[in-house]
Each structure stands twice: as structure tokens, then as C-alpha cells.
């Protein structure tokens, strides 16, 4: 079976090369028959990578330990769920996942009915094929998931098992969503390059790829969030976000991708920022490769990296190739990308989009620079200078807060020119209310956190402007149509899905920001050793240690503490932090216990115990507003789906709407 999988990949490479050549020749000679054959090749690659993926899944499920990859990442007793997710637990498998997603995307783009008349499509397919071939080559030549254990060695009875830290639902969702996002940006990139190649650089490539961009962006957002959620519950990963190089690697393209999907709106509406948009999509695509490179090269100290498997050079080479070719095309065609319009006012929607873009790209640049600084300083000065977590917080904190502020202001400013009256009209009430909230928090909450209160002020201001916008829309509609409140709300939303989907996404982002601000500024923490019967107090909580217990869960032994939790003197339930002793792993794994409400998470870690459980050490956090991070994430997804769902209401509204 494994050999068939490998063979599928080899054939896919061959077909890829043929298809690419066929596309190029058919474009030059205008040979429709050859073009059809090239398209067939794309479909074949889609099928072959699908077959290879299913073979890998089959091997993982049946536990064929003669395959190295299966041996290294699974064991007989691993739950089905995690046998499946072992697909992308290692380097080779994750490359197959990438390749598979890309091949399917390529097939969809190539065969889409919508694009039948678009003469750019053969170019797009050819560009995507180059990326396909690269990934397939890496797998076949460097790291194949189908490699067998050396011949002459007896097939092991059982595998090494999946590391306990990877046995988390995050392992299932985080890599898949992240890759769907990463790979998704290859499509708008390919369209942009095709536009440059064909010298047809009007905004059709932007219109065609809008859904791809937004959905890729949504998956990248989700990928980051699932990563955060996972890191939040794993001890030793430094909380939901630690500015680790690998975390940054997926955050930087998110920032530039966010900038891109905003600035293309300016091009759609006003025919401006064309060079900027081209540059942004090129940068975003290269950053997705950079992220993949960083995770696999071992050049930076990271807690999440794969081992250095010699793949770094491959990715570096491909990244440089993509950068050189894209930049050459951009510079060569730059006179085609003339602006259609000029900025007419310094307070206008265009200019606020520009500010948003500069801030996002600024944050991306600062994060990128901080991440790769050890490499640069080593090259220049011979020492690796690193920056620590406070650097990223101090630099990105204000920038992202400003971005959020612009997010509130931007959608309410009219295109072209905004009047002072119009501004006062839109912002008066949100401003008054949010200042009251900010001042109140500053005075009322312990610690008198100035930055925390200020950040809250800004975030609530923006949230209120968004809510006000919904309210006003409904009011205007009701006045005109005399519909009921809910009907008016529903119709308002569904008739302008792009706009209100966007507002919904903004709302999600605000909620995520509130969680970040809240847990950052108002987190409390205590680590304490207690004996049986003793109580740990933190904030309004009192948690009592009543000794340790043990239970069996499948093959694993679980040691846990069942601790009653009191809040303000009332019993509000029990919390059970655990240590799990895996049969296949030397060290126990810590399962944190979280008692979450909308206000805060009580987060308890059973760190260690002595005297056969008579004393134990616990680490307890109170993390305010954490659940809003996940709620915000789902609102973001809903908003995205709502905005891009095909059909009525998803078109761009008339230009220059006031």
C-alpha cells in the first residue's frame, strides 16, 4: 500500500511537469486540444494526491508499522481521532496535507464554470502547478510519508505513540485550518501574477479572487485562534500567545492578508493603490512560504518547530525564486498599474483605509523584524540578538490598538470627503459612553491599569460604533418600510451582506481584542503548595485541596484532584486538574482544569505532589474575558460566511454610498 502511495506522488510529479509544459506551449501556440490535456493533468494531480492522502489515512488507521511515519506517530491503542490527526503530526505528512489542499484548490480554479471564458485561467493554473510541483518534489525526494523502516529490521509490534501534547483537539483543528488558510492565499497570488503576465491588470483579478481571499483569511484567522486555544491549555507553551517565532510566522501573513483584503476594496471602488495591492499579495504569499520554511528549517529557536530535516534549503530556494520572479514581473509591468484617481480629502474612507493598511503592515514589519533579528544580527555582528516578549507587546500593542480605532472610524466615514458634522453625528454617543466605561474601569478595578483602561476605552468605542451602525440601519429601514424590528434587521443584513458581514467580522475582532486586553491587563496568578484540607484563595475564589485520586482511562492512569470551588462564600462547583500517565510516554502530561464563565476563566494546574499526595502544588490563574476570544472567533467565522455566501445581497453596493 505504502509503495502505491509513493508511486502516486511520483506520477503526480511527472504529470505536473507535463501539464505545466502543455499549458505553456498551448498558451504560446493557442492550441485548445493541448490546453484541455493540460487541464486533465491538473485533475489527475488532484486525484493522485487525494489517493495518496487516503492511503496514508488507511495506513494510519490499520497501524501498518512497517511504514516509518505510522510507526513514529501512532500506536495500536491511540484513539481513532488521533490516529487520523497523526496525518499531519510530522513533517512529511503535513507536507502531504499542504500538497493535497493545493491540488484540490488548483483543480477547482482550473475547472470552475465561472472562469470558462477567462483567458487568464491557463496562466493561473500554470502558476499554481509550479507550486504543486515544488511540494510534490520535496515529498518524493526529501521526506516521504510513505518511507518504510529499513529492510532487514523486523516490523515493530507497536508504534511509538503520539506525543501527549499532540493529543488535544487543537491538534485536529489547528493545522488543518492553518493550511487551508496558508494555501488559500496561493490562489489570489496566482491570479495577480497571471494579471501581470497577460498585462490585463484591471481589477478583474481582484473581483474573481475576492471569495478566495476572504475564505483563506478566515481559515488563517481560525488557524491562529485554534493554535492559541491549544497553547492556552498546554503547560510549557507560555499561554495563548507567546510571540514564538513559529506563532509569529502565521501571524505576519495574517496581518498582510488583512491589509490586502481591505486595500483591494479601494481598488475596486476608486481604482487606486494598484501597485500596493500587487505588492501586498506577493508579500502575503511569500510569507506563507516563509512560515512553512521557518517551521521546518530550525534556523530560529522555537518551541513549535519540526526537526531540521534539510527542508529549509528547499523552501529558502523556492521562496527566493518566487520573490525574484514576482518582483521582476511587478517592476516590469509597473507602468500598467497607474492610479485612476487621487486622494481627494485627507479625511475620507480612502485615507482611513490607507491608515489601516500602514498600521497593519507596520505591525507585520515590526513582528517580522523582531522574529528574524537573531539571524540578521548573527550575519552582521556575529552574535544572535533576540528580542523578548515585551518587545512584541510594546510595539504591537499601540499599533494594533490604533488599527482597532481606525476599524471603528473607517467604515463610518463617507467615501471621498467627510464633514465635521457627519463625524460628530456618528461618534458622539459611542465616544461619551466608552469614555465613561474606560474611566470607570480605571477607577474601579484594582491596580488602576492605565493602559488596560485605555485599551478598553478604545475597544468599547469601536464596538459601540458598530452596534450603532446596525441600530441606525434598522431604524432607517423601519421608517421606510414599516417593518417589525426583527424583520427590518434581518432584511437589512441579508440585502447588504457584504457590508453587514464585514461589520460582524469587526465585532468578532473587537471581542477577541477585549479578551486579549482583559487577560493581559487584569490577569491574576498564584502558585502554592498546600496540604490536604488547605485552601488556596485568589480574587474572589477559594479552592480547597481534598487529596488526590486516581482513575483508569483506557490504558492511561489519571491522577486528579477534585477541588470544591467557592466564590464569595458560595459553592459554585468543583474543578479537577489532572496529570495523565500515558502508557506509551515516559512523562505524565498535565491537563489543566478550567472553570469558565463569560466574565473570567478560573484556570488550575496540578503541578506536582509529594508525600504520596499529602501535599501538592497548584498554579491557579484568573484570566478575565478569555471566553470572548473563542466567541469572537466564531462570530468572525459567521460574519465571513454571511458576507461571501453566493447569491443575492453579496454583490458590491453602489459606489460612493453615503
Amino acid at each position: 500500500m505504502a509503495d502505491i502511495g509513493y508511486l502516486a506522488l511520483v506520477i503526480a510529479v511527472a504529470i505536473g511537469v507535463y501539464s505545466l509544459a502543455a499549458f505553456i506551449i498551448s498558451i504560446v501556440t493557442d492550441n485548445e486540444k493541448l490546453k484541455a490535456s493540460a487541464k486533465g493533468g491538473v485533475a489527475a494531480i488532484g486525484l493522485l494526491t487525494t489517493a495518496a492522502s487516503f492511503i496514508l489515512i488507511y495506513l494510519l488507521l490499520v497501524g501498518d508499522f512497517s511504514v516509518k511515519y505510522v510507526f513514529e506517530y501512532t500506536s495500536t491503542n491511540l484513539p481513532l481521532f488521533y490516529k487520523l490527526s497523526a496525518f499531519w503530526a510530522g513533517n512529511a505528512g503535513s507536507l502531504l496535507l499542504w500538497s493535497w489542499v493545493l491540488a484540490i484548490y488548483t483543480t477547482i480554479v482550473t475547472f470552475s464554470k465561472k472562469h470558462e471564458q477567462d483567458e487568464k485561467i491557463p496562466y493561473v493554473s500554470a502558476i499554481l502547478l509550479v507550486i504543486n510541483i515544488f511540494f510534490l518534489l520535496v515529498m518524493t525526494l526529501n521526506s516521504s510519508p510513505f518511507e518504510r523502516i529499513p529492510s532487514g529490521v523486523a516490523v515493530p509490534m507497536d508504534g511509538q505513540g503520539l506525543n501527549p501534547m499532540l493529543q488535544n483537539p487543537g491538534m485536529v483543528f489547528h493545522p488543518v485550518t492553518l493550511y487551508l488558510g496558508y494555501v488559500g492565499f496561493a490562489v489570489p497570488y496566482a491570479f495577480a501574477m497571471a494579471a501581470l503576465l497577460t498585462k490585463k491588470v484591471d481589477d478583474s483579478w481582484i473581483k474573481v479572487t475576492r471569495r478566495w481571499t476572504i475564505i483563506a483569511w478566515m481559515f488563517l484567522s481560525l488557524g491562529n485562534l485554534y493554535g492559541a486555544q491549544w497553547a492556552y491549555v498546554e503547560l510549557g507553551w507560555g499561554g495563548f500567545w507567546a510571540w514564538d517565532p513559529v506563532e509569529n510566522a502565521s501571524f505576519i501573513p495574517w496581518l498582510t492578508g488583512t491589509a490586502f483584503l481591505h486595500s483591494v476594496m479601494i481598488q475596486e471602488r476608486k481604482d487606486m493603490l494598484k501597485i500596493w495591492n500587487m505588492s501586498l499579495i506577493i508579500i502575503t504569499f511569500i510569507l506563507t512560504l516563509f512560515g512553512t520554511f521557518l517551521v521546518r528549517s530550525g534556523v530560529l529557536q522555537s518551541v513549535h518547530a519540526f526537526s531540521n530535516s534539510g527542508l529549509g534549503t528547499w523552501f529558502l530556494a523556492f521562496m527566493c525564486l518566487a520573490a525574484v520572479v514576482s518582483l521582476y514581473l511587478l517592476v516590469d509591468r509597473i507602468n500598467l498599474l497607474k492610479q485612476g484617481n487621487k486622494f481627494e480629502s485627507y479625511i475620507s474612507k480612502e485615507s482611513s483605509f490607507l491608515v489601516n493598511n500602514l498600521l497593519l503592515v507596520g505591525a507585520a514589519f515590526a513582528t517580522f523584524w523582531g522574529t528574524i533579528f537573531p539571524l540578521i544580527s548573527e550575519a552582521v555582528r556575529g552574535v544572535r540578538v533576540t528580542v523578548s516578549v515585551p518587545f512584541f507587546n510594546q510595539v504591537n500593542g499601540p499599533i494594533l490598538l490604533a488599527t482597532i480605532f481606525v476599524m471603528g472610524v473607517c467604515p463610518l466615514i463617507a467615501w471621498q470627503r467627510a464633514s465635521l458634522k457627519n463625524i460628530a453625528n456618528s461618534f458622539l454617543w459611542p465616544l461619551i459612553l466608552s469614555v465613561l466605561i474606560g474611566v470607570g474601569l480605571y477607577l474601579y478595578l484594582p491596580g488602576h491599569e492605565l493602559y488596560g483602561a485605555l485599551a478598553f476605552l478604545v475597544a468599547t468605542f469601536v464596538m459601540l460604533t458598530i452596534l450603532q451602525e446596525f441600530y441606525r440601519g434598522v431604524r432607517v429601514r423601519r421608517r421606510m418600510t414599516e417593518e417589525g424590528f426583527l424583520t427590518a434587521f434581518g432584511r437589512l443584513m441579508t440585502r447588504n451582506r457584504r457590508r453587514y458581514g464585514g461589520y460582524t467580522i469587526h465585532l468578532g475582532i473587537i471581542l477577541i481584542s477585549l479578551a486579549i486586553i482583559g487577560s493581559g491587563a487584569y490577569k491574576q496568578e498564584v502558585t502554592k503548595q498546600v496540604s490536604v484540607g488547605e485552601t488556596i484563595t485568589i480574587d474572589d475564589y477559594a479552592i480547597t485541596f481534598n487529596g488526590l485520586r486516581q482513575r483508569q482511562e483506557g490504558e492511561n492512569d489519571v491522577v486528579y484532584a477534585e477541588m470544591p470551588v467557592m466564590k464569595d462564600g458560595q459553592v459554585i462547583g468543583t474543578i479537577t486538574p489532572e496529570k495523565v500517565f500515558y502508557a506509551t510516554w515516559e512523562q505524565p502530561s498535565t491537563e489543566v482544569a478550567i472553570k469558565g464563565t463569560l466574565v473570567e476563566d478560573l484556570y488550575v494546574i496540578l503541578a506536582t505532589w509529594e508525600n504520596s499526595g499529602q501535599t501538592a502544588t497548584f498554579k491557579v490563574h484568573v484570566n478575565p474575558l478569555m471566553s470572548w476570544m473563542w466567541i469572537g472567533g466564531y462570530i468572525l467565522v459567521l460574519g465571513t460566511i454571511f458576507a461571501v455566501w453566493p447569491g443575492k445581497g453579496s454583490q458590491l453596493g453602489p459606489k460612493y454610498t453615503q
Binding site: T386, Q394, T527, Q587, T608, T617
Partner: protein
């Protein structure tokens, strides 16, 4: 002043602000990444410098004092030259903290006491372990 100039000035202000943030951030929060051998035997004095030090954990050296919430352990250098760095960390033991684990320390080194005071200890994500050492080339027979 025409609109383009105003926009241009606005752009410059934003770029300057980001630059300023980065500059001050760098001067306050940068440190050095050094190997253990360099730290112990190198010429440079790293006292009072914020350091990032990767190393491998010596499993037997780990000792946790719950009373003081103090984790004491020793790392060896990654190249296997035998240099050892004693570390103290006032927090609980991270997961995956077993013998030979790749650990990244952040904190300060006190040369006089020969003690690294860690402010942050992270263990590498397990996918890093793939094919690195035992088992990858010659799988053990039967159960293990």
C-alpha cells in the same frame, strides 16, 4: 497645502511612530541568544543581559521545591560538549520536561554564582522530536 501633501505627511507620521516604537522596543527589550558553552567559557560578560539559552535537560538534575515554588535543574549544551548550566526557575515544571528534552531558557545569568535565573522556560513542541534520536532508524523490537 494640497491633499496629497497632507496625506503624505500623515503617512510619514505613521511610519515615524512605528519606527519609534520599534527603536525604543529594541533598546529596552533585546538580549542575546547564546549557547551554554559560549556562556560559560566565552570572553563576553553577560551579567545583566537578558539571555535566551537553548539546551538539553539532564533528567536526574530536576528538583522541585513546592514550599518555595522553586524548580532547579541543569542543562547541557546542544552540541554535546559536556558543558553544564545550573538553572533556577520560580515556577512549576513544564510538560515534556524529560531527560534530553530541548529546553529554551529566557532570563539572566549570574556568573559569580554560576546560576541561570530563568524567567521563562519552554519545552519544544514534540514534533521536534521526530527522527532525532532513538528509534527512528532501528525500531525496538516488540513492546516498549
Amino acid at each position: 497645502m494640497n491633499q496629497t501633501t497632507k496625506i503624505f505627511i500623515g503617512v510619514l507620521i505613521i511610519i515615524a511612530a512605528v519606527g519609534y516604537l520599534m527603536f525604543t522596543g529594541f533598546s529596552s527589550f533585546s538580549g542575546y541568544e547564546v549557547g551554554i558553552s559560549e556562556l560559560l567559557t566565552g570572553q563576553k560578560d553577560y551579567n545583566d543581559e537578558y539571555l535566551l539559552v537553548p539546551g538539553k535537560l539532564i533528567g536526574d538534575s530536576v528538583n522541585f521545591n513546592g514550599d518555595k515554588v522553586e524548580l532547579v535543574f541543569t542543562l547541557t549544551d546542544i552540541k554535546g560538549e559536556g558543558y553544564q548550566l545550573p538553572v533556577v526557575y520560580n515556577d512549576v515544571k513544564p510538560d515534556n520536561f524529560d531527560d534530553g528534552a530541548d529546553v529554551i531558557l529566557e532570563g539572566y545569568y549570574d556568573k559569580e554564582d554560576n546560576l541561570f535565573k530563568a524567567e521563562k522556560v519552554t519545552t519544544k513542541c514534540p514534533s521536534k522530536y521526530e527522527g532525532v534520536e532513538e528509534g527512528a532508524e532501528t525500531p525496538p523490537q516488540g513492546e516498549n
